[in-house]
Amino acid sequence: MEPILECRDLTKKYGSKYALYNLNLSLERGQIVGLLGPNGSGKTTLIKLANSLLHPTGGQILINRTEPGIETKKVVSYLPDRNYLGRHMRVDEITAYYNTFYDNFSMERAAKMMDALDIDRRARLSSLSKGTLEKVQLILVMSREAKLYILDEPIGGVDPAARDYILQTILTNYNENATVLISTHLISDIENVLDHVVFLQEGQLVLSESVDEIRTQHGKSVDTLFREVFKC
């Protein structure tokens, strides 16, 4: 099967500093992949490149065999690590916004998740708590029938109980041919849902292995291996 995301000698430079250097990476379809690495390892740069928010200095990044652009934006559902919604909008307005722009957005799925979480659809986004806002953002992203979900710190700002709900939402709302790429520091929380992990350090690939391989070959959990590899 063709990879959903492929990096070929991907390089991104900010001034004289390399954020990514000759990165070669291939992600298969139908997996939940953890994108892990310390701060400044190039995770966010890679995510931005995949979403066409940056342009590579060298090499190539392909999503569904296409360079990031209008066509790839139709199949990538992206959750940034910050509030990215217009705070002046109401929940139902932002839902309608998504429905207008994305052909693969399911109003029914969004409504179902919002009802399950008891989110008031007439509430202004500015009136929601940080945790509720993050849930709304995740609901919008997971209500799309995308081929690649890119989630940047999806559980970073919520309490442990909400984390479980969010992980459950991710697991139950993507189809088996889609890939979910999750970038987080909370490895132990997501370890059980991951199929594959990618370790980045100083813009280069350190490891790209399945979680099963890590457990059988290294005899360690992903969290333990991460702490060893990136020991300060």
Partner: protein, 268 residues
């Protein structure tokens, strides 16, 4: 896609826009019926002159303030939609950078156009009372002679120039904000600096152009401007050249914004 983007862009800030212009219309109506219609220009005295001067100053200030607020809505929307956290949603919509830019230019120009029409309508409402038009008819021949045309024609031409300058101002504003994005640590400051520097350069260019083609008042070709018809001729020749120059500059600024939006965006 452009239509969808336009729809949401026009919606953004529309409530404030309507509120401000609603206030302007109400004040114009009150000014017309409660103040201007009550004036008697047949017996002018010092009190009449000073009250009219004060009223005119207040109205001009109000018109400028509403125009400035419209400009702020346009600038703020561009900055917020594309370069703050909201940019993460805007830039990941299945639309190209050019579509985003044109959506913002068209919607900004529509807001400016609406602003010009409403403000022009308010001015018309204020000055078309019988007492005002009768009082003006006394001095109309002198004014027409100075302008070389009737005041209504003069106002109409000014209005058309204002309409043309709308999209030009929108592009200049976007240019400054886009330039500000090239300074990640000081984006807002960069945009303000870009505005002042580009305005200064445009003024310099305009000044040089005026001297170069002999349009500077009483400088080379025009001669004294107090001759009949000379004020209007001078004003329109100057404005004509300025408009052409501004259009050329706007095209260059558009190319720069287009390039920055295609290649140099890096959201924080």
């Amino acid at each position: 896609m452009l239509g969808k983007l336009l729809k949401f862009d026009l919606k953004y800030g529309m409530k404030i826009f309507l509120l401000l212009h609603g206030i302007l219309i109400v004040i114009s109506l009150l000014g017309r019926f409660l103040f201007l219609d009550q004036l008697n220009f047949n017996e002018p005295d010092a009190a009449l002159v000073s009250s009219v001067a004060l009223f005119a100053a207040a109205i001009i200030f109000l018109l400028m303030a509403v125009c400035f607020c419209t400009w702020m809505i346009i600038a703020f929307r561009f900055y917020r939609n594309l370069f703050t956290g909201e940019g993460y949603l805007t830039w990941t919509l299945p639309a190209s950078g050019v579509q985003h830019l044109w959506s913002k230019i068209i919607s900004g120009s529509i807001l400016f156009l609406l602003d010009c029409i409403i403000e022009g309508g308010c001015v018309l409402l204020l000055v078309t009372g019988c007492n005002v038009t009768e009082a003006y008819s006394v001095i109309a021949p002198d004014v027409n002679s100075e302008l070389g045309m009737t005041l209504s024609t003069f106002a109409l031409i000014l209005f058309v120039i204002m309409l043309i300058s709308g999209p030009v101002s929108v592009i200049q504003t976007y240019f400054c904000i886009a330039i500000g994005q090239l300074f990640p640590a000081h984006r807002l400051l960069g945009a303000i600096a870009a505005y002042f520097i580009s305005s200064f350069l445009i003024q310099l260019l305009s000044f040089g152009l005026q001297i170069g083609i002999g349009l500077f008042p009483e400088y080379i070709l025009i001669g004294p401007t107090d001759t009949a018809d000379q004020v209007g001729t001078y004003l329109f020749t100057t404005m004509g050249y300025s408009t052409v120059m501004m259009i050329v500059i706007a095209i260059l600024q558009y190319i720069a914004v287009h390039y920055i939006m295609q290649k140099k965006i890096n959201l924080l």
